[in-house]
């Protein structure tokens, strides 16, 4: 099938700083990864040349299968450094093919790991990219209905915004690190469109508190908190696969209730710290500076953080 060797990636390597290939190599059991349509096949964008932009031999998405701590999984990873990890005609179709394969064949692994690292849709291929997101979201839901656990891992440089933010929230479960960021419109986009009073994208602490992994985990926008390492994400992913909610009416009714309750509880909050206080955290200012272990302890006491409404 392929012969893409894996360099050894240490367990303590930073997820944020690693490339998509390094993340896969480090996450999966050594030597277990088999790539579909590897770079030697040159499955790349035919559209970037129009814009005088370089292509990548994998169009920034790697798909394949392997083993996660001994368990067979399908896996896909976006390369956030290439075109912001964006959904485009080819990169999107690679994700789509993988998820549909799991949906249609119960002989394939019943878990898919999506290593999202994406600013959303690739504007140079905007229509194809947007539609690819819609197709991927639909395929994820259909796969879930067929009994596949689809786990999103968010901790890369590009985060998971726009269509990638929606894709993450369509999955059975989401793991996120402190550096992981997710949402729909990025802070820069909001500032550009609505002004700096609405969202000051240069205010790092503000951006962190609104879109960052700790806020998402506390309010239940992510289901596991991972240390920013390869082994951190391996543990988080492994723990989530067996806790995937079924995709049915009861689950979506629970999600409706959960999201409605969130609006009501935080209606008067204008900052994330105010939300955290409402959640019962007595010293919300300390969230930013505490270490991962201390944060995980805090999360364990927050009722809203863990749920099956997804």
């Amino acid at each position: 099938m392929n012969d893409m060797p894996e360099a050894r990636v240490s367990d303590s390597a930073s997820w944020f700083l690693s490339t998509a290939r390094e993340r896969i190599a480090g996450l999966l059991d050594h030597g277990s990864f088999m790539e579909f349509l590897p770079p030697t096949e040159r499955v790349q964008s035919p559209h970037l040349a129009l814009f005088d932009l370089p292509v990548a031999f994998d169009d920034g998405v790697i798909v394949g299968r392997g083993r996660l701590a001994g368990r067979d999984v399908l896996i896909a990873a976006q390369e956030g450094q290439f075109m912001g990890g964006t959904f485009a005609e080819v990169s999107g179709a690679k994700l789509l093919g993988l998820i549909r394969a799991a949906r249609d064949n119960d002989k394939l692994p019943r878990a898919i790991l999506l290593l999202l690292d994406s600013g959303g849709v690739r504007l140079q291929e905007a229509n194809a990219g947007e539609l690819a997101v819609a197709e991927v979201m639909r395929a994820i839901m259909e796969a879930r209905m067929a009994g596949v656990a689809v786990i999103a891992l968010v901790g890369g440089r590009a985060g998971a915004f726009g269509g990638a933010g929606l894709t993450a929230a369509t999955c059975s479960r989401i793991a996120i690190s402190e550096q992981g960021r997710t949402g729909v419109s990025g802070p820069e986009v909001i500032e550009t469109n609505k002004g700096v009073e609405e969202f000051d994208s240069k205010d790092k602490a503000l951006v962190w508190s609104v879109t960052g992994g700790r806020n998402r985990r506390l309010i239940g926008g992510a289901d596991a908190y991972a240390e920013d390492t390869v082994s951190g994400f391996r543990e988080a992913a492994s723990s989530l696969i067996d806790r995937a909610p079924t995709f049915d009416l009861a689950t979506l009714q629970a999600e409706q209730q959960r999201l409605s309750a969130r609006v009501e509880r935080f209606a008067n909050c204008s900052t994330a710290a105010e939300m955290w206080r409402v959640l019962g955290i007595t010293a919300p200012q300390s969230i930013r500076d505490m270490n991962d272990a201390a944060f995980v302890k805090i999360v364990a006491d927050v009722k809203e953080a863990s749920h099956d409404g997804r």
Binding site: L96, A102, Q124, A126, E142, F247, L252, Q256
Partner: protein, 239 residues
Amino acid sequence: MTVADILAGLFPGGHDVAERPDHLILGSGRRENGGTVSIIGIDDGEPLGISGVLPLAERVLDVIAAGGNIPILVIVDTQGQRMARHDEMLGLNEYLAHLAKCLRLASHEGHPTVGLNYGKAAAGAFLATALATDVLFAMPGAEPAVMDLPSMARVTKLPEEKLKELSQTTPVFAPGLRSMIEVGAVAGSWDPAKPLSQQFEAALAAITKQDLRDMTGARRGGRKLAATIAGRVAAAAIG
């Protein structure tokens, strides 16, 4: 055409959609065969935020919970997701995805979903509504787009003139209805000179269980590679 004209054309037997201050569309219409259609949507180009998602999703869940097989019409004119710090802080991505999930579950539970874009439709709001249906049509003059050319010029750092010129050669990125039809996102446009009710019924009758948008895009030439590549990956996965 206004939403009132469109609904009157779709449901000559009557509907109960009333204008709302939040610009949401919620109601039901009577089919010519006597059946009911549940109608949800967003009007006036209003951006879709968390406050808009919840009533729409709740309606879809109610339709599913009630059982039966009444169709759901999703009718949209929205400039995109609401861009606000508060919405992002609360996790707008979860809200928008939730609506898309409710619509997909409705289809799965036997409620066919038809999207109709009659004004703008963009970005995350498009994904949560019209693009989450079984089949999507548009009225002539609809302006579906991921992003307008001036914004695109800003982000890509290319001159708008250059983008305009390129948009003539490829539907893959050019904003507008024609492109969205060519890539397979929009099945087609409805003819306002003919009865909309019949076109709606024809759309319902033609719904397939499978997502054929990649095949459609390939056939129409607007998205030549996606279907083949998705198929190749699936074939490799099956081994």
